[in-house]
């Protein structure tokens, strides 16, 4: 695979490092002198293109017409948007991926700017941290097929209806499959006779519209964890 990475900060450089280790062809574009000094120590010289990543001339030099993937990893959201748009509109790049720096700009990262995949680092971190703090809240790990299907993880709450039940007796939503159960750091294959316990982490593939039904089964009985007690009081 031939990948062009725009922006050689921590994210871009680390991505380049992984891809090169996997024998992919990588061209990374960067223009900040201090960043260049660092990545020259980490990456092979032939992978580094020195110049403004948003300039069409620089993209062409780096081979944008031939690449399979353009990864826009600069620290400026507007630059990443413009890169994805140019990549598809002018150079027909098959796949564009963009990094979102400010989660409040996330609404821009979609087909408006020809962004195929948007990576929202701050949002992912925040959700991971929130996950560590809560028991019984479902976390979406990956969205597939433009968000119609999700791979989710849920830690089974002690009060959940699923506790003590065999998988075959669960009334799972129609479009849902349990993929694995993690119990005390061990991965268990999911069989019909597997009995679910409180604290099990369940990985499931579920249609997004049925995520809530699954949560009712695995989470706390009153799935509405966030309802504040005073919210029922009418003014």
């Amino acid at each position: 695979m031939f990948v062009i990475i725009a922006g050689g900060g921590r994210t871009g450089a680390q991505l380049a490092f992984y891809l090169i280790a996997q024998k992919h062809k990588v061209h990374l574009i960067e223009d900040r002198a201090d960043v260049l000094a660092r990545i020259h120590q980490e990456l092979p010289t032939e992978a580094i293109y020195q110049g403004d990543p948003t300039s069409p001339h620089m993209l062409e030099l780096a081979g944008v017409r031939e690449c399979q993937v353009l990864a826009a990893c600069t620290t400026v959201d507007a630059d990443n948007l413009v890169l994805c748009y140019l990549g598809r509109d002018r150079y027909q790049v098959p796949r564009t991926i963009a990094r979102i720096n400010n989660p409040r700009n996330a609404w821009l990262f979609d087909k408006k700017f020809h962004v195929d995949v948007a990576i929202n680092q701050a949002d992912m971190m925040a959700k991971l941290i929130a996950e560590e703090m809560s028991l019984g809240d479902m976390m979406t790990l990956v969205k597939l097929r433009k968000g119609e299907v999700a791979l989710v993880e849920e830690k089974i709450s002690p009060q959940a209806p699923a506790v003590g039940k065999m998988v075959r007796d669960l009334e799972l939503p129609a479009n849902c499959t349990l993929a694995a159960i993690i119990r005390k750091d061990e991965v268990l294959a999911v069989r019909g006779e597997t009995v679910l316990q409180a604290g099990d982490e369940v990985l499931a593939v579920v249609a997004s519209r049925q995520q809530e039904a699954l949560e009712l089964l695995l989470g706390r009985p009153n799935g509405d964890n966030h309802a504040a007690p005073h919210s029922a009081v009418k003014p």
């Binding site: 959201d77 630059d79 748009y85 821009l108 408006k112």
Partner: protein
């Protein structure tokens, strides 16, 4: 007309003030409150501080009902992104973006936006004046678009 001006530097402030004087309803957005000092004291349009790429800021500025929008920040990428969403998402009928770095003009053109390059225009004008070597004094008026040649 309802007009939104994004970026309140020298260009933005001058555009906003000129539009206000013509009787338009002008809203100026900038991420830095200090930028509004560029506006003359008698400017009576709205000023809004905010992160210009966020949806709530644009909605609060009334982008859904704007008749025209000028994106004149010092970032070509930001201006292009604003111009594109104004046209494609909010269907603003008249959108103009400022090209800040002349080397990045192609970027705005790729998006099919109306683009103005004050730097290039200024440079071309200066070059013309230098080469034509007009007799008499050159007096500049306004923002430099009007030139008056005094007969010697």
């Amino acid at each position: 007309m309802n007009i939104i001006v994004i970026g309140c530097g020298r260009v933005g402030a001058e555009v906003a003030y000129a539009l206000y004087r013509k009787g338009h309803k002008v809203t100026v957005i900038d991420q830095d409150t200090a930028a509004f000092r560029n506006l003359p004291e008698d400017f009576r349009g709205l000023t809004m501080r905010g992160d210009v790429l966020t949806q709530d800021v644009l909605l609060r500025a009334g982008i859904e009902h704007a008749h025209a929008l000028a994106a004149v920040t010092p970032s070509d990428s930001v201006n292009t992104v604003l111009g594109h969403i104004a046209q494609v998402v909010f269907k603003v009928p008249n959108v103009v973006v400022r090209n800040y770095d002349p080397r990045k003009r192609a970027l705005h053109e790729a998006f099919g936006l109306q683009v103005i390059s004050p730097v290039s225009m200024g440079a071309m004008r200066i070059e013309e004046i230098l080469c034509e070597a007009p007799k008499g004094t050159v007096v500049k008026a306004g923002s430099g678009d009007l030139n008056k040649l005094q007969e010697g």
